[in-house]
Structures are given as structure tokens and as C-alpha cells.
């Protein structure tokens, strides 16, 4: 629609907009309350005055009567005036249950308000100055000063078209078109670090909140009237005392009340309704990760039944969630449990309108097993009958390891796979909750903060249910902000809290990490000798990864270190762990030479048949943050390489039970000695390693050691060259420095001179093992000589130990 067409549509709402402009909704409400009070008081005065001479008010009775009639007229008119306003105000809301004689306008009421201001102040300025537009900008974290700057000066006079996604044009779509058409708006938002997605998300949030409030206020709408329970519905059906004792009606839960209109899991809901509408064996098994929204799907089903928008077969059904734990706990013994179970399900079957929900079917069967009872056999006759329907839940792991093997259950249930929602779905599901927290705490969340909560819940708390982790964060952020003395919750505040909770440097690069990244070469060189090219390549790749230029849905960084033994590959890994995670303890080390056999993949991701968790899956679940070090990566089997192909690409993998394991909060470092011969060869020929990198990588591919697609997945393939004499001397000096520190604790000091360093390099270096034998030489020779001196009384606290060349070579 063109702007002219939109403005034409705005005329539909003009009466309400005009009324709002001169007398705001809140003021009208106040006036009505005063008038109603006056009518009541005047009525009482008339009654009292009419009592006769005793009241003493007889002479002024006509005055009261006159005033009463006038005030009554004004009051009644004020109510009708509000009906006049509401007629337009509520005309744009969507309802689940259709209502008659309702022609919906082509634009939303909020957009009409924006357009009304746009006519007066310009298309951009009108948006900014309108109450809805202003609230959207506030939700984007823009200060009033910043917003004021946006309306400074003349606005360019360029018209544009606005596209509607779902029939009615909304403020979000107007803002989107405005952003396309106004360069100044684009530049302004870019300068404030606000993206198009943020603008659209915040617009949708603000409009959704307004729509929810409207739906709540419109009590005469069918959606609200349906919430009043009907009389006599249950007379046609039997009583279910036991199910009521051990269960909860879905429509009376908080989850149901908090249910909001969205298209989340619409496909799964449709599938569920189809399954339950069957004439026989109409039972469904919802399989999905914990927290993915299985109960929400069931609540939506209950809502559809309530609103009578389901097929006739489901009409009048009651959806009741059984609490199996309560049932098992209350009975305690096999006999009692089975008796109560059969009684409960008989009752539910006879009632004829029950859809029983068993939240964690595998856990229920297992807890019954603990009593010695076979719950699946007990359940079977009911699952077979048309009188009772069951919806059961299972997570993918338990489904594969437990239910899939049970032929009886598999026959009785139809599986509905519940897909994971994306971050935007999680954001939408949090929006209402945030408003409630704001009302309690007085804080104000920006949209970016809300997105940060959702992203952090998914990325940094992957071991928890994302919705739960996100809600926990929301509840924790309010007191956190109170302690900081701040009201407006921004993205950085959320990330700070997440960092404080996890210890992981999250989100954007902050000052501390910025300086580390800019100075990464020096920090790495504090512990790594030589390897200038390798250090530079790692530092560049880490800077790219941490500055947000790389895909966030991948590990924090991933490198393949190639080179001979003892040249600093492991030391580099340790340094990265210390720089990015604060300590070497955050290294998750795997010797990949142990994963070359046929069972390698099973050992890493777990066994479906054995029900055992995989070692890689368990490690990453226990420690989701750190450096994942894969030593001797070339020796791992092809299946293992293929597994890492996915991990490097997507940042997660699926274990044997079908559960996701997150590796996005790790730096993955694979080391390999493969190609060392070529490194030696080219160095001997006097070639520069950096120039030969492609040749070496090609050779690794042609030898079948690594697939090209695997090598391409790494952020960097880093070549480590063998250490030269100068490098080895530096390493030796470093190591002797370490020894000296230990000696200083005993009051001793070792003199580190050229003779000692030269001796150590001569004794402790090996072309094949690099600097690795240096440590052994220090232990075997230096420490041994010092020990002798200490025992002989030649080295006393406060003295300096000097080891002569002759003494060393003895």
C-alpha cells in the first residue's frame, strides 16, 4: 500500500483518534468515575430528602432532582461515548472464536495513530513522536536525547510503499518500510547499533503487548466469555475423582493462563488433533527435548477444545495431566499401586471425555517397575479402547532407549516429533513474562536485552531447558540491576550477568578482552617460543571469531595444529585456555589415538543399545566451556572425523540418544604430527614454511589423512616449525626460570648462565621430539646436581648455586 492509501485507511479510526487527542482514555475513565459517584450521591440525597420534613432537605429536593437528571444524562452519555471509542479501538483485534458482523480495517489502530501524527509532522517524525513509535524506540534502548536528535531538522519528502504480511498493515511493517526509505533513519539506527531485526522485533513486541491488553479489556468478546465454565457439560460424562486427585486439569494451570497466541508448534498441534480425532487407538506420544514446549502444545489443544475450534470428536473433552509420581508415592506397594491404577483408568474410561496426559512416560514406567509392576501392560487395554485417550511425553533419549524397544507401546501410540523452537520463538515466549517482571521490579528491558537473554539461555546454559534458563535469567537480572543502581536493562547488563554466572567471555568484545585480543601475539609469546607465523595466524583467527565476523553458531574458534612433537602445540593450547577461560583447568583433553577402532564413535557419542552416554557428550555436558584439545587427531577414525565435521560446522552434535550436545562455547584445537616429515623436508631445503602451507595441506589430503571438507571447517590450519637452536635456548632459559622459582621458595638461587643453557640444549634437545626432552634433562641432570649440593651442605638458604660445565658433564 502506498502512504496515500494508508492515510486514507487512517480515516477509519479518526473518530477515536480525535477523541483520544482531546480527552485521553485515562482522563475519560477518571471523569466517568467522578460522574458515576456524583449520580450515586445525588440519588442518595434525593432518597433522604424525600423522607419528609424530618430530613430537613425537603426544600432543596427539586435542586437534587434537577442535578441528578442532568448528571445522569451526562454520565450515561459518557459511557456511550466510550462505547463509541471502543467500537474503533477494538476493531483491529484478532479473535480465535469468530464473531458476527465484523469488518476488520486494513491497518492496525497503532498504525493509524502513527499515521495521524505522520500527517502533521512528516512520515519519520510522526513515527518518532507518536506514542507507539516512541515506545518502540525506547524498547530499542534509545535515550530521549537520542530520540530528540532524530526529529531535528527537516525531513526528506520521499514517499514509500508498505507491504502487509498478514492482511492488516502494522506499525512494524511501516517501520520496516520507513527504514528502507529513509537513509537518515538507517544511519541513525546504525550509529545506535540497532539492526533491522531489532526494530522489527521491538515493534512486534510493543504491538503484541497492546493487542494482549485489548483482548483482556474486551470482556464481552467470545474468547473471554468462553473462559466462564458452562453448566452441565460434565453431566453427560462420568466423574473422575481419582484422576482429579492425582492430576490437574490443564485449563486450571498457570501455563494455560499464560498461554499466548502464536504459531509456535502449529504443525505439531495439528498433528496431535488429527491423531486424537481417530476412532480407535487415538493416543499420541510427544517426543522432544525437555522444555521444548510439549505441555504448551497440550495447553493449546485444551484451549482449542474450550473454544470449540476442534473437530466434533474432541468436543467436550477434558485434558487432565496425571501426576504419576504422586500415584506411585501414594500407593507404595505393587498391589496398592495396581489397584489404584486400574480404578483410576476405569473411572477415566467410563467418564468418556478424558484425555489423560502422562508427562514423562518412561520415568513413570520405571518408577512402577521399582514397585515390581509393569505399567505399560496395565496401560495397554486402555490405550486400545476408544473410551480413553492418552497423550504421553518422552525426551528423545528415553524414547530411543526405552519406548522404541517396547513393541506394545509403539503400536498403541502415534509419535509426534516436537521440533526445537528457534531463538526468535524463545524471545516471543518471554515477552509477556518480561512485562510482568517490569511491573514488579520497576525495571525496563530493552528488546536487545531480551534477545540477549534468549541467546544466552540457548548458548551458555545448554544443559538446562532454554525456556527455564531464560526465565531464571530474567528473574535474576532485576535484583542484579537494583544492586547496580540501574533501571534500564540493556544487552550488556544481561551479558555481564551471564559472564558472572558462567565465567565465559560472552557476547561482544569488551575492554578487557579487547586488549587481550589486540595483544594476543605478545600474550602467546610469553609462553611460546618462536612460531611467529603460527602465533600470528592464531591471533588473527581469534580476533576474527571474537569480533563477531564469524558465524556465532559455531565454536568460539577452531584450529588444526600441524607440526612435529615438542614445538609448542600443547603450550599454545594452554595459553589460549588461560587467556580466554582464565586457567589451564579449562582444557578438555582427548587423546584421539584412542579413538581409531571401530567402536570409536560409539565411545564418543554413546551407545543407543547399551544406553551408555558417550565420553565426548558427557564431558561437554559437564564442562561446556573451555578448550577442547584433540591430540593426535589424524589417528582418529573416519567416523570420528565426520563427527567433527558437524561439530566444527554447526557447533553441536547429536548423541546416540538423539539429544543435542553443545560445543559452541569451546575453542577446538586438534593437533597432528602428520606432515611433520614434509615440514622437515621443506625446511631442510631452505623453503619458508608459510609458503609451503598449501603444498603440505594438499599432501595430507592426497595421503588420505584428512578430507578437504574437514580441513576447510577449521578457522585456521596452523603449521608449527621445528625449533631452532636459538628457540631451544630460549625455551631452556624459560624452564630454568621455572626451576629457579621453585628453588627460591627454599631460599636458594640457581645462576642461569650461557654454559648452563648451552649444556641443556645440547643434552635436552632432539630433532624428532623438539623441546620435549629438555624437561627430562632438567630433572635428570640439573635437579640431580642441585639435590647433591643441598645434601652435601654446599647449597644453603641464601646462597647462589653455580653449576660449572665440568660438573654438569660428569
Amino acid at each position: 500500500m502506498t502512504i496515500e492509501e494508508l492515510i486514507h485507511e487512517e480515516r477509519f479510526y479518526r473518530p477515536a483518534i480525535l477523541l483520544d487527542r482531546y480527552l485521553r482514555r485515562a482522563s475519560r475513565h477518571f471523569v466517568r468515575a467522578i460522574l458515576s459517584g456524583a449520580v450515586a450521591i445525588l440519588f442518595i440525597l434525593i432518597v433522604v430528602a424525600d423522607l419528609g420534613p424530618a430530613s430537613g432537605l425537603g426544600p432543596v429536593l427539586p435542586l437534587f432532582q434537577g442535578l441528578f437528571l442532568i448528571v445522569l444524562a451526562v454520565t450515561v452519555f459518557s459511557y456511550v461515548l466510550e462505547a463509541f471509542y471502543n467500537s474503533y479501538y477494538f476493531s483491529d483485534i484478532s479473535t480465535t472464536v469468530p464473531e458476527v458482523a465484523w469488518t476488520r480495517p486494513k491497518i492496525s489502530f497503532s498504525l493509524a495513530l502513527v499515521l495521524s501524527d505522520a500527517k502533521r509532522f512528516g512520515l519519520l517524525h510522526g513515527f518518532v513522536l507518536s506514542p507507539v513509535g516512541y515506545e518502540i524506540l525506547e524498547r530499542l534502548g534509545l535515550s530521549s536525547e537520542a530520540i530528540a536528535k532524530l526529529v531535528e531538522g527537516e525531513e526528506e519528502d520521499v514517499s514509500f510503499e508498505v507491504g502487509a504480511r498478514e492482511g492488516m498493515v502494522t506499525v512494524g511493517e511501516y517501520a520496516d518500510a520507513l527504514l528502507n526509505a529513509r537513509k537518515s533513519f538507517q544511519n541513525f539506527l546504525a550509529a545506535q547499533e540497532v539492526s533491522r531485526e531489532h526494530l522489527l522485533g521491538a515493534s512486534e513486541w510493543v504491538e503484541h503487548a497492546l493487542a494482549s491488553e485489548k483482548r483482556r479489556l474486551r470482556w464481552w468478546g467470545r474468547d473471554n466469555l468462553l473462559k466462564i465454565p458452562s453448566i452441565g457439560v460434565n453431566w453427560a460424562y462420568g466423574q473422575i475423582y481419582l484422576l482429579e486427585k492425582y492430576g490437574t486439569e490443564i485449563t486450571s494451570t498457570g501455563l494455560y493462563r499464560a498461554l499466548r497466541e502464536n504459531n509456535l508448534h502449529a504443525a505439531e498441534l495439528q498433528e496431535l488433533e488429527l491423531i486424537l480425532s481417530k476412532s480407535n487407538e487415538a493416543n499420541a506420544l510427544l517426543v522432544g527435548r525437555e522444555g521444548v514446549g510439549k505441555m504448551e502444545i497440550v495447553a493449546k489443544l485444551a484451549d482449542n477444545i474450550m473454544k470449540e475450534t476442534v473437530s466434533g470428536e474432541l468436543s467436550g473433552k477434558r485434558v487432565i495431566a496425571l501426576d504419576p509420581t504422586a500415584l506411585v508415592a501414594a500407593t507404595g506397594s505393587k498391589e496398592k499401586f495396581e489397584r489404584e491404577f486400574i480404578k483410576l483408568f476405569n473411572q477415566a474410561s467410563e467418564a468418556g471425555n478424558v484425555i489423560a496426559v502422562i508427562e514423562n512416560l518412561p520415568a513413570f514406567i520405571k518408577s512402577a517397575e521399582a514397585l515390581g509392576s509393569d505399567a505399560s501392560a496395565l496401560l495397554d487395554p486402555y490405550l486400545d479402547s476408544a473410551a480413553l485417550q492418552v497423550i504421553a511425553f518422552a525426551d528423545p533419549r528415553a524414547f530411543h532407549s526405552f519406548i522404541e524397544k517396547n513393541g506394545v507401546l509403539m503400536n498403541r501410540f502415534e509419535k509426534v516429533q516436537v521440533k526445537e523452537g528457534d531463538t526468535s520463538a524463545l524471545v516471543r515466549s518471554l515477552e509477556d513474562g518480561v512485562l510482568a517482571i517490569e511491573r514488579i521490579s520497576g525495571s525496563f528491558f530493552t528488546y536487545q536485552a531480551l534477545v540477549a537473554v534468549a541467546e544466552s539461555a540457548e548458548r551458555y546454559f545448554s544443559q538446562s531447558v532454554p525456556t527455564d534458563a531464560a526465565r531464571d535469567l530474567l528473574y535474576e537480572i532485576a535484583p542484579y540491576m537494583e544492586r547496580q543502581g540501574k533501571r534500564v536493562v540493556e544487552r550488556s547488563d544481561v551479558l555481564e550477568l551471564v559472564e558472572a554466572k558462567t565465567g565465559v567471555p560472552v557476547g561482544g568484545v569488551k575492554e578487557k578482552e579487547k586488549s587481550k585480543l589486540l595483544d594476543l601475539e605478545r600474550l602467546l609469546h610469553e609462553r611460546i617460543v618462536g612460531q611467529d607465523e603460527a602465533v600470528r595466524a592464531i591471533a588473527n583467527a581469534m580476533r576474527r571469531a571474537r569480533s563477531g565476523m564469524t558465524n556465532p553458531n559455531r565454536p568460539m574458534g577452531s584450529f588444526l595444529f600441524l607440526g612435529p612433537t615438542g614445538v609448542g602445540k600443547t603450550e599454545t593450547t594452554k595459553t589460549l585456555a588461560e587467556v580466554f577461560f582464565g586457567s589451564e583447568d579449562h582444557i578438555l583433553r582427548f587423546d584421539m589415538s584412542e579413538f581409531s577402532a571401530l567402536d570409536a564413535l560409539t565411545r564418543l557419542i554413546g551407545s543407543f543399545e547399551g544406553g551408555e552416554p558417550g565420553i565426548l557428550a558427557s564431558t561437554l555436558r559437564d564442562k561446556p566451556y573451555g578448550v577442547l584439545l584433540l591430540d593426535e587427531f589424524e589417528k582418529a577414525s573416519t567416523e570420528v572425523h565426520n563427527l567433527f565435521l558437524q561439530i566444527l560446522d554447526e557447533g553441536f552434535f547429536t548423541d546416540a540418544s538423539g539429544a543435542h550436545v553443545n560445543a559452541r562455547n569451546t575453542i577446538i584445537i586438534a593437533t597432528a604430527n602428520a606432515g611433520s616429515d614434509l615440514i622437515w623436508h621443506y625446511l631442510r631445503d631452505g623453503k619458508k614454511l608459510a609458503e609451503m602451507k598449501d603444498v603440505i595441506v594438499e599432501a595430507l589430503i592426497s595421503r588420505g589423512i584428512f578430507k578437504p571438507e574437514l580441513l576447510n571447517r577449521f578457522d585456521g590450519v596452523i603449521l608449527f616449525h621445528p625449533l631452532g637452536e636459538t628457540d631451544l635456548k630460549e625455551v631452556a632459559t624459560h624452564m630454568l626460570g621455572g626451576l629457579n622459582e621453585r628453588l627460591r621458595a627454599k631460599g636458594l638461587e640457581l645462576e642461569v648462565n650461557d654454559a648452563l643453557v648451552n649444556f641443556l640444549v645440547k643434552e635436552g634437545s632432539h630433532p624428532e621430539f623438539g623441546a620435549r626432552p629438555l624437561n627430562r634433562a632438567i630433572q635428570d641432570v640439573i635437579e640431580e646436581r642441585i639435590a647433591r649440593k643441598i645434601l652435601a651442605g654446599e647449597a644453603k638458604p641464601g646462597s647462589k648455586i653455580v653449576l660449572e660445565e665440568a660438573e654438569l658433564s660428569r
Partner: protein, 130 residues
């Protein structure tokens, strides 16, 4: 004053849009009464035993037991029908009331501007007695 610009809008609304709104409101009320008293369901399940309470027929033929169970089951169906009848009647009465009330309100709505004016004039006329 700008506020008076609303007057023509109001007048037009009162005799056009508002009539549709009135119809929608009445339809909602009509629909709600039917839903609240579950009229359709009660009619459909008119002879179903109340709360599905019933006596099961025992295995093996025993005249006394058979007729005993039959009597109880007929009784439960009669009880169910009687209770349902009461609520169906109340529901129908509510629908009739809604029609009467709706018609009265509609009539009032049509003359509402005159009514307000009349109230105003009557109120002012009271001051003449002072």
C-alpha cells in the same frame, strides 16, 4: 473547539456502525447463553444417565439382578433427563429474556439522543421550582 469535530462522527456512528456493534453484542450474548447452559449438549444427551452413573449387568442370567440393574439404569436416565430439562428450560427462558431485553435496548438506542436531551431538559426544568 476541536472536540466538537467529533459530533458528526458520533451521530453517523450511532446510526450505522453502532447498530452492527449492537447486533454483534446481542449475537455474543445469545451465543453465550447457549454455551453457558450447554443447551445443544444437554439436548443431545437428554436420555444419557446422569453423570454416567449406572449398574452393570452381572454375568449369567438372573432375573432379579437383571431387573434390579434395569430399574436403576432407567431411574438414572430419568434423573438425568429431569435435571437436564430444568436447565434447558432456564436456558430457554434466558434466551427469551435476552430477546426482550435486546429489543428494549435497541428501541432505547434508537431514541437515545432524544432521551439524553429529555433528561437534560427535565433536569433543567426542576430548577424552575426553586
Amino acid at each position: 473547539m476541536g472536540l466538537f469535530a467529533i459530533v458528526p462522527y458520533y451521530v453517523r456512528w450511532h446510526y450505522t456502525v453502532a447498530l452492527f456493534d449492537f447486533y454483534r453484542l446481542f449475537a455474543n450474548a445469545w451465543w453465550f447463553i447457549q454455551h453457558f447452559f450447554s443447551l445443544r449438549l444437554l439436548a443431545k444427551t437428554f436420555f444419557v444417565p446422569f453423570m454416567r452413573l449406572h449398574e452393570s449387568y452381572q454375568k449369567g442370567f438372573n432375573l432379579e439382578n437383571f431387573f434390579g440393574a434395569l430399574m436403576v439404569n432407567i431411574l438414572m436416565r430419568l434423573v438425568g433427563s429431569a435435571i437436564r430439562s430444568i436447565f434447558i428450560v432456564i436456558g430457554i427462558l434466558s434466551l427469551v429474556t435476552a430477546i426482550l431485553l435486546g429489543a428494549a435496548l435497541f428501541a432505547v438506542w434508537l431514541v437515545f439522543p432524544l432521551l439524553i436531551a429529555a433528561l437534560f431538559v427535565m433536569g433543567l426544568s426542576k430548577f424552575a421550582f426553586l
